[in-house]
Amino acid sequence: MSTEPYIVLSAILFTIGCVGVLTRRNAIVVFMCVELMLNASNLALVTFAKANGNLEGQVGAFFVMVVAAAEVVVGLAIIMTIFRTRRSASVDDASLLKY
C-alpha cells in the first residue's frame, strides 16, 4: 500500500486548518482550526510511522494528543475569561493593543 495519499490528505487538512485560523472570527472556532492542524500533523506522524516501520511516530501522535488536551483547557479558560469580560468571543474585538 502507498502512504502518499495519506500525507497529501494531511497536508490538505493542515492547510485548511491554517486558513481557518486566518478567516474565522469566533475564538473557539479559530482554536478548533488549530486542533485541525494538530490532527493533520498526527495523521502525518502515524503515516510516517508506518512508512518508516517504527513506532516513534505513533508515540509522537500520542504526545500531541496529551499536549492538545492541556492546551485546550488553558485556551478555553482564556477564551472564557475574555468572553465574560467583553461578552464577545470574536477575536477581532480583542484589538486594543496595536500599532
Binding site: 485560523v21 486566518l22 477575536v91 484589538s95
Partner: protein, 651 residues
C-alpha cells in the same frame, strides 16, 4: 574631479618605510600613564555623582585634575625625549578587556611621540580652557555639571589618543561623541541647542558606522585589532581590503572631523558654550579624524586609493569651510567654518602620506593653539557684548578690550600665515608638500589660504575696527583675569608654535610613528612657493580691507547679495545637499521621526492621533491589533521560510 587622475600616490615609494608599532612596556614615569586618564575621569565621576555637595569647589577640582594630567604628560614627554629614537614607544597593559582563546583585546595604552604631542595639547590647552571657563561660566548655576562634562570629555579624549588598539580607540571615540553631545546641548532650554546636539549625534552615527565596520573588517582580516598586530600584518594583506578599511576609517574620520560630506553638524554645534567650541570643536575632538588617519598610517600607506580619497575630501572641505567663513556674520560660525577649512589642511597633509603626516600633526598642534585662542577671544568679546554673536553689532572694540584684541591679533596673524607666526610654518609646509604631489592640489590649497586671509581679515575688521555699531545699553568691558590669562598663554603659543619645526624637530620626533619622509624636490624652489602663498594671502587680506575696512558695515545684513554670498550664507547648501542625497530617499523615515518628536518627545501633541505618515508609521500600520492579521503574517513567513529553503537547495 578632474585632479584625481593626476595624483601620483606617494605610497608606492614610501611603502617599505612604513614603521611597525613595537612598544616596550612601561617603566619609570611611564607607569603613571593610566593616571593621566584616571584623573579627569575621577574628576568627572566626583562632579557628576557628587551632586550639589560639590557645587562650591567643583570647578576648581575640575581644573586641578586636568592640570595634574598635564603635569604627568609633561614629565612623560621629557622622559620620552630622553630616550633613544627607536625606543620611543611605550605601552602599558591595564587588564584584558576581552580575552577569548586566541582573541585578545587588552585595555592597553600606547605612549609614543604622536600620543605624547596629543597628550600635551589636550591637557595643556584643555587645562587653559578649564581655567577660562571658571570665569566664563561664573554666572551659570549648573557650572559644576559643566565642569563634570568637560572632565569627562578630556578623559575620553585621552583614552582615544592613548589607546593601543582600535577597540579602545573606539571607546574614546564614542566617549568624546557623548561628551560633545552633552555639551552642545548644555543649554538645553534653547531649542536650537537641543536640535544642534541631535544633529551632531545623528551625523556622527554615520561616521561611527564606518568606524565600526572598519574595526570589524580589520579584525576579520588580521585576527587582531591592536596597532602592534595590525601594523605588523598589514603588509601581507590584499590592497583591496586595505583600501576598503581605509575608506571606512575615512568615513569615521569625516564624521568626527566635520569633513565633507559629514560636515553639517559643526556649524550648529556652536550652540554650545564658547569654551566647548574652543576645546572640542576646534582644538581637540574634531582633530580626532586626523589622528585616526595618521595613527593608521600603516594601512593608508599601503592603500593609495584610500589616500586619494582622503586628499579629495580634504581639498573639498578646505575650500568649502573657507567659503562658508566668508559670509557668516556670527563670529563663532566664521571660526567654525575656518576650523573645517583648517582641518581640511590637516587631512590634506595626512592624505599625502609619509611626506605629510608630520606636517599634518604640526598644523594640528598650531591650530589647536591659535584657534582655541581665537575662540576664547570670541568668547571674551561675547562676554563683553552681552552674549551677542553678530559681528554686525560689534566694531571698534580694539580700544575697549585691549588684551582680548592683542591676543586675538596673534591668533589672526597665525592663522593667515603671517611670516614667523606658527600658522605660517605649518600651512606653508602642507601646501609645499601638496605641490610635490600635484600642482593642482597645491593651487587649490593656495587659493584656500587666500580665502582664509580674506575672511579672517573681515572678522578682525568687523569686530575690532571700523565704526562702533553696538547699542546704547551695551557697555563693553575687558574680561576678568581668569579669562585673559589663558588668552595670553595661548597667544604666546600661537606666535611661538613654529619652534617645533626648528631643525625639522617634529618630523624627526614623529618618525618612529609615521616613518621618515623621503625628500622630494619641487619643480620650483620652496621659497618661491612660499612667496606665492604669501602673495595670495596678501591679496585676500587686501580684498577684505578694501571691501569691508573702507566702507560702512550695515548693522543688518543686506539681503540683496550675490548668489555666491547667498550660497555661502546657507553653508553652501550643505543641509540641502544632505536633504537631497541622504534624507529625501528616506524622507518617510525622517518624517516619521519628526512627527514622533513633535508628538511624543516635545509633548506638543498627545496620543496617537498625530502619529501619521512616515515609513515607520506605514510599517506600524501592519501591527493592526487583529490577531488574524498576525496569523496571516506568520503563515506568510512560513511560506517564505519553506520556499527559501526549497529554492536555495532544489532550485
Amino acid at each position: 574631479m578632474s585632479v584625481l587622475p593626476m595624483l601620483a600616490p606617494l605610497a608606492a615609494e614610501g611603502a617599505e618605510h612604513v614603521p611597525v608599532v613595537d612598544p616596550s612596556s612601561a617603566d619609570g614615569v611611564f607607569t603613571l600613564m593610566w593616571v593621566v586618564i584616571a584623573l579627569p575621569l575621577a574628576g568627572a565621576a566626583i562632579l557628576l555623582l557628587g551632586g550639589r555637595l560639590t557645587d562650591a569647589w567643583g570647578h576648581l577640582l575640575g581644573c586641578l585634575t586636568v592640570v595634574g594630567s598635564f603635569a604627568i604628560s609633561l614629565a612623560m614627554f621629557v622622559s620620552l625625549i630622553g630616550r633613544a629614537d627607536d625606543d620611543r614607544q611605550v605601552s602599558q597593559h591595564l587588564y584584558d578587556w576581552i580575552s577569548v582563546g586566541g582573541f585578545k583585546v587588552g585595555a592597553d595604552l600606547l605612549y609614543d611621540p604622536l600620543s605624547a604631542l596629543f597628550l600635551l595639547l589636550i591637557t595643556g590647552v584643555g587645562g587653559l580652557i578649564h581655567i577660562y571657563s571658571i570665569g566664563y561660566m561664573a554666572h551659570d548655576e549648573r557650572r559644576r555639571r559643566f565642569f563634570g562634562y568637560l572632565n569627562l570629555f578630556v578623559a575620553a579624549m585621552l583614552v582615544l589618543v592613548l589607546a593601543e588598539n582600535y577597540l579602545l580607540l573606539f571607546l574614546g571615540w564614542e566617549g568624546v561623541g557623548l561628551a560633545s553631545y552633552l555639551l552642545i546641548g548644555f543649554w538645553q532650554y534653547k531649542p536650537s541647542a537641543a536640535a544642534a546636539a541631535k544633529k551632531a549625534f545623528v551625523i556622527n552615527r554615520v561616521g561611527d558606522m564606518g568606524m565600526s565596520l572598519a574595526i570589524m573588517l580589520i579584525f576579520v582580516t588580521f585576527g587582531t585589532i591592536s596597532f602592534t598586530g595590525v601594523s605588523e600584518a598589514a603588509g601581507g594583506a590584499k590592497e583591496s581590503t586595505l583600501t576598503a578599511i581605509g575608506l571606512l576609517l575615512l568615513l569615521g574620520a569625516c564624521g568626527k572631523s566635520a569633513q565633507v560630506p559629514l560636515q553639517a553638524w559643526l556649524l550648529d554645534a556652536m550652540e554650545g558654550p564658547t569654551p566647548v567650541s574652543a576645546l572640542i570643536h576646534a582644538a581637540t575632538m574634531v582633530t580626532a579624524g586626523v589622528y585616526l588617519i595618521v595613527r593608521s598610517n600603516f594601512i593608508f600607506d599601503r592603500a593609495p586609493d584610500a589616500q586619494t580619497a582622503v586628499i579629495a575630501v580634504a581639498v573639498v572641505t578646505l575650500l568649502w569651510g573657507a567659503i562658508i567663513g566668508t559670509s557668516k556674520d556670527d563670529i563663532k560660525k566664521v571660526l567654525a567654518g575656518s576650523t573645517m577649512s583648517q582641518i581640511g589642511y590637516m587631512m590634506l597633509g595626512a592624505g599625502l602620506g609619509i611626506a605629510g603626516y608630520a606636517f599634518a600633526i604640526f598644523h594640528l598642534l598650531n591650530h589647536g593653539f591659535f584657534k582655541a585662542n581665537m575662540f576664547l577671544g570670541a568668547g571674551s568679546v561675547m562676554h563683553a557684548m552681552d552674549d551677542d554673536v553678530d559681528m554686525r553689532h560689534y566694531g571698534a572694540l580694539s580700544k575697549m578690550l585691549p588684551i582680548t584684541f592683542l591676543t586675538f591679533l596673534m591668533g589672526y596673524l597665525a592663522i593667515i600665515g603671517f611670516p614667523g607666526f606658527s600658522g605660517f610654518w605649518s600651512k606653508d609646509k602642507i601646501i609645499e608638500t601638496a605641490f610635490v604631489d600635484s600642482v593642482w592640489i597645491g593651487i587649490l590649497a593656495t587659493i584656500g589660504a587666500g580665502i582664509t586671509g580674506f575672511y579672517m581679515t573681515r572678522l578682525m575688521l568687523m569686530t575690532f575696527f571700523t565704526q562702533k555699531r553696538w547699542e546704547e545699553h551695551v557697555h563693553p568691558h575687558e574680561s576678568p583675569k581668569v579669562m585673559t590669562f589663558p588668552l595670553i598663554v595661548l597667544a604666546a603659543l600661537s606666535v611661538l608654535g613654529g619652534i617645533m619645526l626648528l631643525n625639522d624637530w617634529i618630523v624627526d620626533f614623529l618618525a618612529p610613528v609615521v616613518g621618515t619622509p623621503v625628500h622630494h624636490e619641487t619643480e620650483v624652489p620652496p621659497i618661491v612657493i612660499t612667496l606665492i602663498i604669501l602673495a595670495v594671502v596678501a591679496a585676500g587680506v587686501a580684498t577684505a580691507w578694501f571691501t569691508i575696512g573702507r566702507s560702512e558695515v550695515p548693522r543688518v545684513a543686506p539681503t540683496q547679495v550675490s548668489v555666491f554670498t547667498r550660497a555661502a550664507r546657507n553653508d553652501l547648501y550643505g543641509d540641502a545637499i544632505n536633504d537631497t542625497l541622504v534624507v529625501r530617499p528616506g524622507t518617510h523615515v525622517v518624517h516619521g521621526l519628526t512627527t514622533f518628536d513633535k508628538s511624543v518627545v516635545d509633548g506638543a501633541v498627545m496620543g496617537q492621533a498625530s502619529a501619521t505618515g512616515g515609513l515607520a508609521q506605514v510599517f506600524r500600520r501592519w501591527q493592526n491589533g487583529f490577531v488574524r492579521s498576525y496569523a496571516l503574517s506568520l503563515l506568510g513567513g512560513a511560506i517564505l521560510v519553506v520556499l527559501a529553503l526549497l529554492v536555495v537547495n532544489l532550485g
